[in-house]
């Protein structure tokens, strides 16, 4: 049963006898049978190394990735371009460590890179301060909730249904074990329903979480919502796609309390949906409540510029029980990739990519509608992701895409045949035209 654990049958018997049980199975008694595998895994007997390699290689041949098939999937993970300089620099041996070395005596380079990352994120989001990054967008959203619940009197966070599903689930899980609640705001025509938002505000509501552009790619105008939030002294968290911030209204411009999101599309691969990299930036007022690591700039005893971790001692080491978060990790290597990406692209570059992406997404949208196979869902402003309704049976459509080496579309609603299509700067005009052409000849 455990072919890779080098103990003999007599070793096992000796160990079982020592702890007074009959079989290894007994050790797993505590796990309810309903969630346990009934019987052994269906695995073949041992093979030689050569055979294992051949079998695995034949399985791997069936995989299709974004380098082979054109990818129009999004929903939080994007097939964005990674400039060659990024893997070249991040693979340097100085950065190849399983654990980020934070000791200032030996880690000035790493700390300096983190400091630059924070500056870039704060400027991109128009917020006052950022931390050194978090695991991913969803956990950053959950940490943001912890900030606004700190010393708050209520126990409820309102979350718009137009926030990405995964993010909502992660926030719910984090809050559940703190005795806090998530109440969803209904969506109306794929946008946050203002009336439902207003009707759900009671004295237990502390704040609200919204997403820009929303999970369907639509650009919601949050001005009316923010006006109500501020008038009622509620707190606000905005989950914002960083790649959109070169052209869309930033969290800082909206006046939110905490900005969060995911920087995967800034220099990091899709990596099967993770590891990604979360960002969190906030106001000066919340600076001391920022979870995780923060690198600060200081002077050493000779008066030279030096970088150190800062503002974390109080909550994380001295008063752990009072802390709004005990997270101590960040995603340093991915943050480094995003730092290089942002400094390489600059303000103008980030803006140009966003405009380029938006143009391509709108070009494809119009082309697909013109192909005759699709109908509009709503005529709303969108960024690089949009909804479209298929006139064809979805299975037939997806098979057709596969036959042309195009990845199937993300299906939002199978019954209504609503698909979600994402376009990144990686898509060429030729690819977009090919997709439109494939649709045109379909009948």
């Amino acid at each position: 049963m455990f072919p890779y654990i080098p103990i003999s049958k007599s070793d096992e018997d000796h160990m079982l006898k020592t702890i007074g049980i009959e079989s290894v199975e007994e050790l797993f008694k505590a796990i309810p049978p309903s969630v346990r595998l009934d019987g052994d895994l269906n695995l073949p007997l041992h093979k030689s190394e050569i055979e294992v390699r051949q079998i695995m290689a034949s399985y791997a041949k069936d995989n299709r990735d974004a380098s082979q098939w054109t990818c129009y999937m999004g929903n939080g993970t994007y097939d964005a371009y990674i400039p060659s300089i990024i893997p070249y620099l991040t693979s340097r041996s100085e950065f190849s460590t399983a654990y980020t070395p934070y000791q200032p005596e030996i880690s000035q380079g790493t700390l300096h890179a983190i400091f630059e990352f924070q500056t870039l994120v704060a400027r991109l989001t128009d917020m006052y301060a950022s931390n050194a990054s978090l695991y991913d967008g969803p956990t950053a959203a959950a940490e943001a909730a912890a900030i606004i619940f700190d010393k708050a009197k209520g126990d409820t966070l309102l979350v718009s249904s137009t926030v990405n599903k995964n993010t909502i689930e992660v926030v719910k899980t984090y809050l559940k074990y703190r005795g806090l609640k998530v109440k969803l705001i209904d969506a109306k025509a794929y946008e946050t329903d203002m009336d439902d938002f207003l009707s759900k505000i009671d004295d237990q509501v502390v704040g609200v979480l919204v997403q820009s552009p929303n999970r369907y790619g639509y650009v919601e105008n949050y001005d009316p919502l923010m006006k109500e939030v501020q008038a009622r002294k509620l707190k606000s968290i905005m989950y914002a796609d960083p790649s959109s911030l070169g052209i869309l209204k930033t969290p800082g411009e909206y006046g939110v309390d905490v900005a969060v999101g995911d920087l995967q599309a800034f220099g990091n691969g899709m990596q099967f949906g993770g590891p990604h990299i979360g960002y969190l930036s906030t106001t000066k007022k919340n600076m001391r409540k920022i979870p995780g690591r923060i690198a600060g700039q200081a002077l050493d005893r000779h008066g030279n510029r030096a970088y150190v971790l800062t503002l974390q001692a109080r909550e994380q080491h001295i008063r752990r029980d009072k802390a709004s978060s005990n997270i101590c990790s960040n995603q340093a290597l991915n943050a480094l990739a995003s730092t290089i990406y942002m400094s390489l692209m600059g303000k103008d570059g980030i803006k140009k990519v966003a405009i380029n992406t938006t143009n391509k997404a709108h070009y494809l949208y119009k082309g697909l509608l013109a192909s005759g196979q699709f109908e509009e869902v709503y005529n709303k402003p969108f960024y690089r992701e949009f909804l479209i309704k298929s006139k064809l049976d979805i299975k037939i459509l997806q098979e057709r895409l596969k036959a042309h080496s195009i990845m199937p579309f993300y299906v939002l609603d199978e019954d209504e045949r609503i698909l979600q299509v994402a376009v990144t700067e990686n898509r060429t005009k030729k690819e977009l035209d090919h997709l439109i052409q494939v649709m045109e000849v379909l009948s």
Binding site: R288, R314, I318, R319, K322
Partner: protein, 127 residues
Amino acid sequence: MKVLDNLMYNQAHEWIKVEGNVAYLGITDYAQDMLGDIVYVELPEEEDTFDAEESYMTIESVKAATDVLAPFECKVLEVNDSLEDEPEAINKAPYDTWIVKLEIADPSALESFMDAKAYEAFCEEEA
């Protein structure tokens, strides 16, 4: 150690200056000396109300981060915003630097406060 005659004190080493049902509150010279260099004061929100003994702010110095408890049932009328940028003012001039302005719910709560002389004696005893 400096103590002013026109103020009232409690055992938490806070001073108050009472005007009707309003009290300005700060920490004493003795307290700032014990805490060392103050680097941050987490102030309560204006308009919030607190029960006596309820934690309502935090004073962080290079030595420790200390929760401060409300001395009596009160409502926060005003906080000293200048402390956000200049927390060291408490070290420099503890009696000129009020931290919060409180509305006193029940004036009888003031009976437990000491005058300057009694507070001085209390500090000597504690030392």
